[in-house]
Amino acid sequence: MAKFEKANSVGEWLDQRLNLTTFNKVMMTEYWIPKDINFLWAMGVLLATTFGILIISGIFLMMYYKPDIGLAFDSVNYTIMQEVAFGWLFRHMHGVAASVVFLIIYIHMFTGIYYGSYKQGREMIWISGMLLFMTFSAAGFSGYMLPWGQMSYWAAMVITNLFGGVPVIGDALVVWIRGDFNVADATLTRFFMLHVFLLPITIMGIIGLHFYTLRVPHVNNQNSEEFDFDEEAEKYLAGNKRESKVIPFWPVFISKDLAVLGIFLIFYFYLVFFHYDFAMDPVNFDPANNMVTPAHIYPEWYFLWSYEVLRGFFFDIAGVKAFDVGLIAFAFANVIFLLLPWLDRDPAILPAHKRPIFFIWFWILMADLIVLTVYGKLPPTGTNAWVGFFAAVAFILLFLVLPIVTKIDAKKRGAL
């Protein structure tokens, strides 16, 4: 065991045992961040904060929520909303944060794509980030089910039915996931467990991994400039702050993050107090009824694009059932982002505006995702169905041409 001297203060006592000074340096004051980054890089801190809000508001909701199909609806809509002091506030904070967290995740993700932050050396950052997106999606969906309203029920119905598309074991798998022949009490209780325990703890683990993946390759910057972080850090520590390309995370960089966070929180609480209903579907204020489907069902806004890819294929293609084509396209949409680091064949890391064709590709992708999102909410009939079909096809094509697009850019620059 190490030798311990008599400590002169509580800080010193702790420092001897936990080495807080070094920890603080590594994590905060000597964790180096490039100077050349804009407000889009603050999304990580925004996400961490929003996740914190979700956990805390969730704990308060959990104290009154009842995961039982006979009680769930009233425990939310009566007990929490009417009786519990500030219950309405916790519910709206939770509901709005669940929606806004996806907005920030998408901004975070597309910032990464725009600046090439998923490339060479940063693949693990990207992969752990996409895993977070997937677990957040699962958490969002399982939480949406808990109030046991009509939309909850039928969302659960549709999503669990999707597993029926798995070859051979599909039907048995659906019954197994639900724990009943139908979406029923067993389903609600197990989704409650997933939502309040297994998924949050998984998310926390992956957040830890995501932060760690940043440590070795370091964070990207606006010009995707590569430099030696150790050298720049030395300059900074020697007092050459102006010349150094880096600043310490704490307290210099975080101040900018916190300013962005301040603006975000004003926006967030504006939504919580004045527009909480955007995260609440009116159909979900009807109690679940397994004998009546709402006329038109659709997921929350953040799933609309992949939902539209799923249902965009509404006719059989080359003898393959429309249902299967849709499922395959849906599976494609959900894993393809994960493969981005390998689909991009450009050897250099550059922001999109320095890669002319990729720049166009990027904005077409944005436009396509917006079209998919808008049409995902509209009833899939007549021209809507066709717009959905072409947008879904465009989405798939975009990813198929990405290796070619990035190669052409690299060739033109003379890099290949």
Binding site: M157, V158, V175, W176, D180, N290, M291, A322, F323, P380
Partner: protein, 168 residues
């Protein structure tokens, strides 16, 4: 190689064997914990009396928490090998969940229309339009006089489900 290394290897392999058996057993246990409970499985029977059903408009019954459509065909409706013939009457018995993603289609004029993604089924429960990949499923049933016992299987069910399987 020294004796020591061999002993370490042996310890490692024994642990791996114990862990593998324990791990496999836990997986089986965890899988079964998620299976439907015995009470859910045993509650799976519903009896439907066909006598009072009027021709031309389907009725919906609940079986295992799912809607089951029973349509007594009127004279002008197409005959199909799927029909359950009892005396003079022809019936269509089908699970009322769209085979696309599980919404409940509604009876309009002379077909079931699914509001979710526009799927359509004719009066013989065969898909005629939209994304549904196959006809409405047949619930297992047994005929008992003019009664239908949902959840058991009889010869009529076997014949009809064999026919439906060719229709996908």
């Amino acid at each position: 190689m020294s004796n020591k290394t061999n002993r370490r290897d042996f310890l490692g392999y024994s642990f791996a064997a114990v862990a593998a058996v324990g791990g496999a057993a836990s997986l089986v246990g965890m899988k079964q914990a998620w299976d439907p409970l015995p009470s859910v499985l045993s509650g799976g029977f519903t009896t439907v009396d066909l006598a009072p059903i009027k021709a031309g408009t389907p009725e919906t019954f609940v079986w295992r928490g799912k809607p089951v459509f029973v349509l007594k065909k009127s004279a002008e409706m197409d005959k199909s090998e799927r029909d359950l013939i009892i005396g003079e009457d022809r019936f269509i018995v089908a699970i009322g969940l769209c085979t696309h993603l599980g919404c409940i289609p509604a009876w309009k004029d002379s077909m079931w229309k699914c509001a979710c993604h526009g799927g359509e089924y004719n009066s013989s429960a065969k898909q005629t339009f939209g994304p549904p990949p196959r006809p409405l499923d047949v619930p297992p049933f047994k005929v008992d006089g003019t009664k239908l016992v949902l959840g058991e299987t009889g010869p009529e069910y076997n014949a009809i489900s064999a026919f439906v399987a060719t229709q996908a």
